[in-house]
Symmetry: C2
Subunit: 292 residues, 2 copies
Amino acid sequence: MKINNVCILGAGTLGSRVALQSALSGYKVRIYDIDPTALERSRKTMEKIILHLAKSSGLEESAGLNAIDLITFTDNATNAVMDADIINESVLEDIEVKNQVWELFGKIAPEKTIFTTNTSYLLPSMFADISGRPEKFCALHFHDVFYSKVVDIMPHPGTDANLIPILDSFGKSLEQVPVLVKKENPGYLFNSMLMAFIGAAGKLLTKEIGSIEDIDKSWMVNFHMPKGPFGILDNIGLDTAWHVTKSQPDLASQRFAALLKSYIDEGKLGEKTGEGFYKYPKPRYRDEDFLE
Amino acid sequence: MKINNVCILGAGTLGSRVALQSALSGYKVRIYDIDPTALERSRKTMEKIILHLAKSSGLEESAGLNAIDLITFTDNATNAVMDADIINESVLEDIEVKNQVWELFGKIAPEKTIFTTNTSYLLPSMFADISGRPEKFCALHFHDVFYSKVVDIMPHPGTDANLIPILDSFGKSLEQVPVLVKKENPGYLFNSMLMAFIGAAGKLLTKEIGSIEDIDKSWMVNFHMPKGPFGILDNIGLDTAWHVTKSQPDLASQRFAALLKSYIDEGKLGEKTGEGFYKYPKPRYRDEDFLE
C-alpha cells in the first residue's frame, strides 16, 4: 500500500512537527484540531521551525515555507480525514480524550486509513477496540522529529503484522530511524532507559550522595554530552517527569517524586517556566567554566 | 600542602594512565608493580597513548615521550613510596590484595603521604583502617583519564575534611573535572547512572521488547551518541558488567546477568575478545547505514 495522504490529529508541539516533516517529505497533509487558535499557533510553530532549519541545516527557506502552505489546517474532522491513508494522533495524553477521538475517527475515516497513535505513556491496546479497526491500529511514536529522529513502531497484540513494514517505510520517508517495540511497553525503548538513568540520578540527589551540578558533570564529561540528568529534566519538564516518577512504587522513586513536587509547587517546571533545577535562559551547565 | 611527588600503585591500564597524566602535568612520578613485566607493558602503554594524543590533541610527541622518561618504574615498594606526597592505588579489584597493599604501604610510606584508592566498586572504608591512617584515606577514582576526564572524590566517614580541597586541586591539575561523592556509594556518581540505564536496556532485551540493534539505535539517535548500551557494554567488558549485574537481587537483573553469562561462556567478552553483542573491529553500529 502506498501512503500519499497524511492526517495529523492534534495541532500541539508534536503534531505540528510530524505534520511539517510529512509535508517536507512530500506528503499531502491535513492537520486537525478542535481548537482554531491551536491551528494558528501550529502554523506559526512550523514557520519558526523552518527558519531554524534554514539556519542550522541546508533547508531552503522558501521551499520550507511552501511546504507549510500546502498543509490544510482544519477544525473539521470529516474534512481532515478525507482521503487519509494514515492518521497519526497526538491529542491530549488523556484516556478519555483519546477514546473520544478514536471513536469519532473510527466512524468517519475511509476504510483504507491506517490508525496510529503518538501516545507517550499510554498503550495502543487501550484505544484499538474503540477505533473499530484494531488490526489497523498501532503506536507510531515520534520523539521531536527534527533533533531526535527516532520513531517507535509499537503494535498491540491485535495489530496486523503486515502494518509493520508499511510503518517502517513511512518512518524512513520522514527521515526518522524506525525501531520496533515488539511488545507493548509504556516507555517504548528510549524512555525506559531515560527514566532509569534519571531515576538513578534522582536517587543520588535525594540520598545526598552528590549535588545536582556534580551529578550532571559526571554524566556530561563521561559521555561528552551537553546536558546531564538535571539539565535534561529541565528540558522534559519537571511536571512530566513527576507524572512518570510518582507512578513507580519503589521508595527511591517516591522520594524523588516528592522532591520534584516541591519544585513544581514553587512553579519551577524547568525551561518552560524559566527555572527548574537551573535558571534559564543561561543555566549554569552552559557556562564555559562549568567543566573546569 | 603542596603535592610534588606522586606514587602510583599498580601498573595496569588505569594506573598507567594516571601515572602518565601526572607526569604530563609536571609531577614527579613513581609507578610500582610487584610484576616487572607489568612495568614494561605499562611503559609501552604510555608510549602508545602519547602517540595517540600527539595525533588527536595538540600534544607534542617529544614532550610526551620525555615525560615518560622522567617516570620511575619500580618493583621496589620502599623506593616507590619514598618522598611520596600522595599515593593513588589501582591494584587488582580484590579485597585481600588491596588489604595487603595498604597494610604494607601504611608501614613504609612517609608520614606526610595522602592515601587514595582508585577502586571501582569497593569502598574506601574497607581499607582505611588497615592503612593505619584512616583520616588521610580517601577514594580518588579516575575514569579513563584521557577521554572521560572525571575524577570522583569519595571520602569515607573517617576521612579528614581538609583532604577534599587538596584532592580537588590535584584532580584539576591533572586536567580532570573533580566531583564530590558526599557519602560512600559503590558506583560513585556516574557508574550508578550508567548501570541503571544499562540495566533498563538489559530488561528490554531479556523481556524481548526490543532487539539489541533497535535498543542501541534509540539511544544513539536520541542522544546523538556514537554507541548505545550494548556497544557500551562491549567496551566495558561483559565480564565486568556481569560482576556488577549479578550482585543486584531483582529478577530483571538476574535475568540479564544470566544472559551476560551465556555470552561469557562462549568467550564473548566484548571488544577485548573480538566479539560481544557485536563483532569487532567493525561492529555493525559503526556502519554508515546503521542509522538509516
